[in-house]
Symmetry: C2
């Protein structure tokens, strides 16, 4: 079963004139076809070349989305949902042209229940703003991919995760239900507000990670967590990457309830030292966080300190206060920017493999060897408690042979992870760049995915050119 | 989009002669068409009338399942997957005849990783046997629907949960990946063994809860948890059902990490006292369990005792030892049998609504009033930490007016839960009896489900007559 995108071929600008007129009539000045705005809505953060849409529609309601889908169906025009544009895999590119559907104006918090530990929000709400909003409730939304501005709809659509996933889970674990507009213009709610249900197929999880290809998420009901009584941040430097990984594996195997455990290699440490004004030893380092009651958090920190010592860590150190802790985590989240600053003028390809934690040390060691043998500049950071790590490959976009070398490296890395029972993408998604790896990883299951795509979006208007090979 | 079962009309026994001959040739004495065996494989535990298959095939491998699917496609014969037959919603019934696919001989543990806290098992393995198998590893599989003999494949297919779900989650949270045979005979693996992945559509969760209508699960990779250092079981009696519910709501809202919190109403307490030789006060009672380090479990128990006291509980009491604790939980899990013993000769209809925890007290109170007004015998038990409760309606199957009354009660209860933003089924599934409620609850989303069903099983051979209205 081939993915069904061929029916939505790229239109000429002539074709688009009528479409834009109809859109203008419905959306007024919330339609913007200026080149600057279109370019802004194409992918800019990554190695993928930008492919701008023909126009951008700023939606203000689910009904707007329904009407846009109707128009897109009528004219056979692609819709590319857009949140904040922080995707690293070209999800917001418009390879066949079409309309970028900007959901950032749908940013309301619709309800919060402190009794049920949940809330309902519009899809364009940035996760940072949700947490600001929650500040006085004693609750927080846990999924933390780094970018404060990432929208909750975009995070659900790409099955995002991040530094706290080792304890609190991915978007899949923290979205209780979705409102979405399907390709036929119908509006569905995927779930009740009950904590669990066995009522029919799990459309919530089907939409999470579907990258805008099955439906357009307009509202989300999210699980919230109580702010822990005590948060202890800590840093531990290790003699080797392997020893840092082994310490991680030991902690995971014993079920120690770490809230965060992030690896930074020496090259990353140097870059973040410079970027964030820190003075960490340039050795393989774990950034950690322990959540719980005061006693429980302290107990976890002490147990981990012992594990780290046994692996030769020289300097396990808790952050002195909240401000030092915040500084550490900001430095970690800014690693990509630190790398860009350290290698100015270069572009970044960020890899994203994830393997069983028991294979992590081996996978990182082989990747380090590969990086050295290939002669790449590629600092490594990782959500190592999940077995997920990123090589931030800094390269010169203008140099064709260098581009070829880094793509070959990225392919070897994906194949290595798949061979170790892992995945080519822990959290960034398939988008445009990993369609071949998806096939290598999931084989015939991709045909089932394509059949579902075809059933729910027979004319292929929803984010064509993503997930499936074209 | 109507569900696609009409193409698989019930066959005459004449048609079946050739099918059985072909099956006999392939499966030898692992095909059994004797009436006794066929009757055993139809639904017996519930109010649904038994509808026996034409024959039973005992599969020993995924290849057996592939070959059976091929034969079923060739002759257009339904396949009804069967694990242990503990379903309460008619999932194993064969309304259109066909072949019951008994997976109970596929009961091997294929691998365990104590480093990754996961294992891979065949679908026919009973959950009780998995936990016996794990005993020396310090790990356990958490989902506990009561029945020790429930198979892991069946539990996944029905998105089962149970007493420990409040802490450890449902099957959806504890299945990392599946091997399944689809209707076209293809074998797919839905996931790698990495802890998380953003690689394409989430077919794992799509199959979990699909009740054998989208594919036949043959292997599962499961998340395991470390056996807690300390387990404290406790019992608390309350003046009213509402006060017991309020205590639950308070504990959930404050994020107290309860491992189990089960409500038994006075009628249930009387029945289990008699069945299990206990002498609990016949008042609304919570059975509780706290897991953690010794200090953490004790801390939780103390906090809950205080909450219970504030709600007027007179007798919060920890179990003296493991044997008393085991006795309590066995009594809870045997509630259905206790009810059958207390009202001999009657049949049971077990309801299964689930509402947001904040609405639980209200939902149970209204249901109690309804039970009284209707004059039913219906003890109530519940996984109240999830907002899920069961009324065990004891009735006389031979009395048509009584049957009508209990079905009307069941309908009112489902409607009440749905009106309270809940679900008609927390964990038992839709099966045959709740197809109309599914439509009432999820509206247009059911059309999307039917489209997926049609895409993956166009000829409708996989467990027809379940989930969708026919």
């Amino acid at each position: 079963m081939p993915p069904n995108t061929e029916r939505t071929a790229k239109r000429t600008s002539n074709d688009m004139t009528e479409v834009l007129a109809v859109l203008r009539q419905r959306f007024g000045d919330r339609l913007d076809a200026s080149p600057g705005i279109c370019r802004q809505h194409a992918n800019t953060l990554t190695w993928h070349a930008a492919q701008a849409p023909d126009a951008v529609v700023f939606a203000a309601s689910t009904q707007d989305v329904v009407d846009l889908v109707g128009i897109a169906q009528r004219f056979h025009v692609p819709i590319i949902p857009f949140g904040a544009g922080t995707s690293l895999e070209g999800h917001v590119n418009a390879p066949l042209g079409g309309i970028s559907l900007d959901l950032s104006r749908m940013d309301n918090v619709l309800r919060i229940s402190t009794d049920d530990l949940d809330c309902t929000v519009e899809a364009g709400l940035p996760r940072g703003r949700l947490n600001s909003y929650l500040r006085d409730t004693g609750l927080f939304f846990s999924v933390d991919p780094g970018a404060e501005e990432a929208t909750l709809g975009g995070m659900a659509a790409t099955r995002a995760s991040g530094t706290t996933t080792v304890r609190y889970g991915t978007m899949g674990d923290n979205v209780l239900g979705l409102k979405a507009v399907l390709a036929d213009g119908s509006v569905i709610e995927t779930s009740s507000r009950a904590r669990k249900s066995a009522a029919g197929y799990d459309l919530t999880h089907l939409l999470i990670g579907s990258e805008g290809t099955l439906g357009i998420i307009t509202e989300l009901t999210l699980r919230l967590h109580g702010v822990p009584e005590q948060v202890i941040a800590a840093v531990a430097g290790f003699p080797t990457l392997e020893s840092a990984c082994r310490a991680t594996m030991t902690a995971i195997a014993m079920g120690l309830g770490l809230a965060r455990i992030e690896l930074l290699d020496p090259m990353t440490i140097k870059a973040v030292n410079q970027h964030a004004g820190l003075s960490l030893d340039p050795v393989p380092t774990l950034f950690l966080e322990f959540h719980g009651t005061a006693a429980a958090a302290r107990e976890q920190a002490e147990i981990f300190a012992e594990i780290a010592r046994e692996e030769g860590a020289s300097n396990f150190k808790s952050a002195a206060d909240e401000s030092e802790s915040r500084k550490l985590w900001k430095a970690r989240h800014d690693a990509l920017w630190a790398a860009r600053e350290a290698w100015p003028g270069r572009d970044a390809l960020v890899t994203d493999v994830c393997v069983p934690v028991s294979r992590l040390a081996e996978c990182i060691a082989e990747t380090e060897k590969d990086i050295a043998a290939t002669g790449l500049v590629a600092p490594i950071v990782g959500h190592v408690g999940d077995g997920n790590f990123h090589a931030i490959v800094m390269y010169n976009k203008e140099d064709a042979s260098e581009q070829e070398a880094i793509l070959a490296f990225s392919k070897r890395l994906a194949e290595r992870a798949i061979a170790m029972e892992g995945t080519c993408t822990g959290e960034h998604g398939i988008g445009q760049g990993k369609t071949a790896y998806l096939r290598a990883e999931r084989a015939g299951a991709v045909d089932a995915m394509a059949a579902i795509k075809k059933a729910l979006d027979p004319s292929g208007i929803l984010n064509p050119g993503k997930i499936f090979q074209t």
